[in-house]
């Protein structure tokens, strides 16, 4: 579990604003690394050539992907959310993938800040807040009609309203926790398997052949799976935000 430990860096442990600690931790460092990597990635694709190069093509693929996702889920109104969804998707994607980098072999420690719900929660609450703000700004109190689906029998309006309200209010938690749990579970699984490999290797050759080697082979597969999960979780986060934004934009 050491890989999830947050430690202040550069003696910044006592930094604070208005009594709140804002130490520049390893978590903050990896947020910075993800931001810088994303900045370099997008800047490299901003050459604005009419005939794009490979790099520009890659960046345009991502913007086109986000644009298409919003167009499919929100419709033409969704165009204005492209910057937000793009930032969200790419920030989470870079965080997840950077956290999987095998830089442990260099003696460094990759840190996946998306495996902390204190980090994913901020993103989830931000998305939820945008949905609330857009919903109430656009539809005023009509936004509450979101909780009463079309065709609800009159007798069921009140219970359905509360059920829908609860499912609505659970959204930021499910959004934040899903990402945190998926990332953490993957990292824990890899750690457990790697401890099998190392401990059985230290014990004796027979145990290594029985337990260590299969674990190692399994780890290779799970590493590939984790790369997939890193992409999928970023996609799910962005997609669910799109779906929620659709509720706010178009009700239903």
């Amino acid at each position: 579990m050491h890989q999830f430990t947050i430690e202040p860096l550069f003696g910044s442990g006592h930094w604070s604003i208005a009594g709140y600690n804002i130490a520049f931790t390893n978590s903050a460092l990896w947020m910075a690394i993800a931001t810088v990597a994303l900045l370099i990635f997008v800047a490299g694709g901003s050459k604005r050539q009419l005939v794009p190069g490979r790099w520009q093509m890659a960046v345009e693929t991502f913007t086109g992907f986000v644009d298409g996702m919003l167009a499919a889920n929100v419709g033409p109104n969704g165009k204005k959310y492209v910057p937000y969804i793009f930032s969200l998707f790419m920030f989470i994607l870079f965080a997840n993938v950077l956290g999987l980098l095998p830089i442990g072999v260099l003696g460094l420690h990759a840190f996946t800040f998306t495996s902390h719900f204190s980090a994913t929660g901020v993103l989830a609450i931000m998305s939820f807040a945008i949905v609330l703000i857009v919903g109430f700004a656009k539809h005023k109190l009509h936004f509450f009609s979101l909780f009463v689906p079309h065709g609800t029998p009159a007798a069921m309006v009140v219970p359905i309203f509360f059920v829908e309200l609860v499912s609505f209010l659970v959204r930021p938690f499910s959004l934040g926790l899903r990402l945190f749990v998926a990332m953490m579970a993957g990292h824990v699984l890899l750690e457990v398997l790697s401890s099998f490999v190392i401990d059985s290797g230290n014990a004796n050759i027979g145990l290594f052949a029985i337990a260590g080697l299969p674990s190692f082979i399994l780890m290779i597969g799970i590493c590939a799976l984790e790369l997939l999960v890193a992409g999928i979780q970023a996609y799910v986060f962005a997609l669910l935000t799109c779906v929620y934004l659709n509720d706010a934009e178009n009700l239903h």
Binding site: A28, M31, V82, V122
Partner: protein, 164 residues
């Protein structure tokens, strides 16, 4: 689980830096750079659409021009055919007329020549008659000692010549 154990000590730092870096990502990358990238894509799409439209228009124009060229060409060809036919007809008539004129001349010449031949033949026949009459008179004079009238002898010779 450090996520829970360290929550009280680290939540403010996590939230603060998350807002800082995600805010930077959103405002600088999301709002600053992504619209430019999307704008480039949109511009390219419009350009491609425009180019396709222009190509389509050019194709249609080329088709129309080809059609009109074909019509002109067909008209020209028909005109040329008419010209050739007319020229051919004129030439034929002219040839006919010339042939007819030549025929007339040739007929005249033939008639003249035939007349000449007939005259020559008549002259030759007269000559033969004269010669034959004289010869006959001489023969008669010498053999029979008769002196006949020239006219009589000639008539007799002529009788014999005509009846063989």
């Amino acid at each position: 689980m450090p996520q829970i154990e360290q929550l009280a000590a680290t939540y403010s730092s996590q939230i603060f830096w998350m807002l800082v870096f995600f805010g930077f990502t959103f405002f600088v990358i999301g709002r600053g750079m992504v619209p430019k990238v999307m704008d480039t894509v949109a511009k390219r799409d419009t350009q491609i659409a425009d180019d396709l439209l222009a190509a389509e228009r050019a194709r249609k124009q080329a088709d129309a021009e080809e059609e009109s060229w074909r019509e002109r060409e067909n008209a020209n060809r028909a005109k040329a055919h008419a010209l050739i036919a007319e020229a051919r007809a004129t030439a034929a008539t002219e040839t006919e007329q010339r042939l007819a004129a030549a025929q007339v001349t040739i007929d005249g010449k033939i008639a003249e020549a035939e007349a000449g031949i007939a005259a020559a033949r008549k002259a030759a026949a007269d000559e033969i008659e004269t010669v034959a009459a004289e010869a006959a008179r001489d023969i008669i004079g010498r053999v029979a000692g008769l002196s006949l009238d020239e006219g009589q002898v000639r008539a007799a010779v002529k009788e014999n010549l005509v009846h063989g």
